[in-house]
Symmetry: C2
Subunit: 152 residues, 2 copies
DNA sequence: TTCATAATGCAACATTGTAGCGTTAACTGT
DNA sequence: ACAGTTAACGCTACAATGTTGCATTATGAA
């Protein structure tokens, strides 16, 4: 779907995977979204595009994409993972959780690259920074509607 | 159980709640632990102390404690909440997730108080900093046992 | 002691995700 | 173009974590 960036099929094939209906549709769905989607949101997306799919297959497709580094996974505060296309080499940035619409946004500008003074004895692998608040689009409607689209 | 700090019963009563068997036992369990516990771990703790309890009541007791600010809740990467006693006024510090034993530790020394440059349009309420790695006690046994106690 | 109701205990249900396993279809090699 | 291999699918069952409804209990107050 993207112009000069590799197609979904190429992305999948280049990682040694078989190009299947569900995988292609998932990559396209994640790529078209400006924020990471839950399994359920991806499923709804596929249904809307009339792509037949199975719940479990969808879980496995998402897992595979994450495993290959094509997508990344962010924990939501509603204990549902969000999946997003990896747009920068090493996916390392903060995430913003909107408490109003429940959406998660990648803040590629905000990198948790500060020196962390660990108490000692701890071996640090990775830092995860999650910002909670209200997203721009919710701020615009915060005075109008009481509970816009999303869950929670 | 603590000496000069308020007893569990007092803590509960002072927040306008009824002092019940389960609530007292939960507060004691959380207070005795050096790290936040899952619902399941608290349940095991109560069982060990021969405190009869119900699964749902336990969930409700934990929710109530969080609501009153007596306990705080940390999201685990295994999508099970961890509950810990609030030991400092406003609970605001980083948490360490051990990828080996699965335990979560409160790092009261590490406060995410850096100025975050948000992309604009976002309204920040709260920053959550989660550090992933191996905890001190796991580091000691990392060469001996393959998979010590905890889950995941 | 009595009373109002907060809190409990139980059963049923919801959500998110996994495991097993027979079947299908995507690629490979000819 | 065809056949064979096997990755991936699709289905059913199951697991883990948490929630909802409602009748019953027992806490704290009068
Ligand atoms: Mn991201
Ligand atoms: Mn903490
Ligand atoms: Zn929002
Ligand atoms: Zn550990």
């Amino acid at each position: 779907m993207s112009s000069q960036s590799p197609t979904a099929a190429d992305l999948i094939a280049n990682h040694g995977g078989r190009v299947t209906r569900t995988r292609v549709a998932v990559v396209d769905a994640l790529d078209a979204s400006d924020h990471p989607l839950t399994h359920d949101e991806v499923a709804a997306n596929l249904s809307e595009a009339d792509v037949p799919h199975d719940r479990v297959t969808l879980y496995r497709a998402l897992d595979w994409l994450v495993d290959k580094g094509i997508a990344h996974r962010v924990a939501g505060s509603d204990r549902a993972w969000r999946y997003g296309i990896v747009r920068e080499a090493p996916h390392q940035h903060a995430h913003f959780h909107c408490s109003r619409c429940g959406n998660v946004f990648c803040l590629e500008q905000v990198q948790p690259a500060f020196a962390i003074a660990l108490p000692g004895g701890y071996q640090l692998d990775r830092a995860e920074l999650i910002l909670h608040g209200v997203c721009p689009s919710c701020l615009l409607t915060v005075h109008a509607e009481p509970t816009p689209p999303g869950p929670r």
